[in-house]
């Protein structure tokens, strides 16, 4: 091989290195590799994700509860005359009553989301406590989500 290698050779070599790096990084992201080779960072990531999701879902329920209170107080003040909507406003007794119902429906789902997020976090903690590792062989059928 010539000493100053041809430009094509250099580019080819760099591409190969980049491809190898991508393959390595992708491989280390799979649960098979991460849970067996770097279990600490794997479970840190899993628990951190669960914690952030649970906090987010709690916040989403809170904003709906705060909206509910804001709408109810507005309805109260509309009835007592403390709040007077501008002419042509979308706010009226009917739209406020409807808003309360809509918020209740959305909140029912948000409460369920919150419960599922808590379950997800608990599952991550349970897997870590059990020292779970992703099996490398095809696993026998077991209950869904069973560690």
């Amino acid at each position: 091989m010539r000493f100053p290698p041809a430009r094509e050779t250099v580019v080819r070599l760099l591409l190969l290195v980049a491809l190898g790096g991508t393959l390595y990084k992708g491989f280390m992201k799979t649960p098979e590799a991460a849970s067996n080779l770097t279990p600490k960072s794997f479970f840190d990531g899993l628990v951190n994700d669960g914690e952030n999701t649970a906090i987010m879902k709690e916040r989403h329920r809170d904003v709906l509860e705060a909206t509910d209170k804001a709408v109810r107080v507005r309805l109260e003040e509309l009835r007592s005359g403390a709040y007077r909507p501008e002419p042509g406003s979308l706010v009226s007794e009917e739209s406020l009553v409807r808003a309360i119902r809509k918020d209740e429906a959305t909140r029912a789902r948000a409460t369920d989301d919150e419960l599922r997020a808590t379950e997800k976090l608990e599952r991550a903690r349970r897997l870590e406590a059990a020292g779970w590792r992703m099996g490398l062989l095809p696993c026998p059928p077991a209950g869904e989500g069973r560690p």
């Binding site: 628990v47 914690e51 952030n52 909206t67 209170k69 804001a70 107080v73 507005r74 706010v91 406020l96």
Partner: protein, 178 residues
Amino acid sequence: MSLSRRFLRLFSLALLAVLLAGVAGLVWFGAWHYPALGLAGIPKDGYRRAMDIAARGMTATDGLVFEDFDFLKYREVARGGEAYAWGAARCKAADGSTTFYWVYLEWSKKRGQWLRNYSLELAAPDDEIYFTRQNPGQFGRARLAAGKLLGQLASRVREALAARPVAGNRPDLQSPGL
């Protein structure tokens, strides 16, 4: 002919530059400058002070008088450094009616300070929660959405401008009622 063409080219380049500068300015203001405004140096567990500053600033520019937090929450993860603070601020509007304002801050690991996040007046008269299928119509919806976005931007800009002169002496950092 060549002169007018050169002029046209220059003009369109200048227009593009102005447009890009405008977009860059918006991104800088919305993603960097405004969220951090007046919150630098407050530690993670100083979230009450950060929430107080944020709530007073954003409600005052909307003509609301901040009374107290209806509720205030702080959450942090045990692993990783994320932390969040949120709450509903109870305010009085100019006409004497009660208004609730949602205030939400996130701790930025990168910048090491609290940052304002999605915050707005709850159940405002232009809220989607009052919409039906027919009312408002297509154009009404678009007008309300654009008005909400631009109105919020305008009030953020007003808040940033109002914060400028008092940045030196910071008169009301104490938080009565908290």
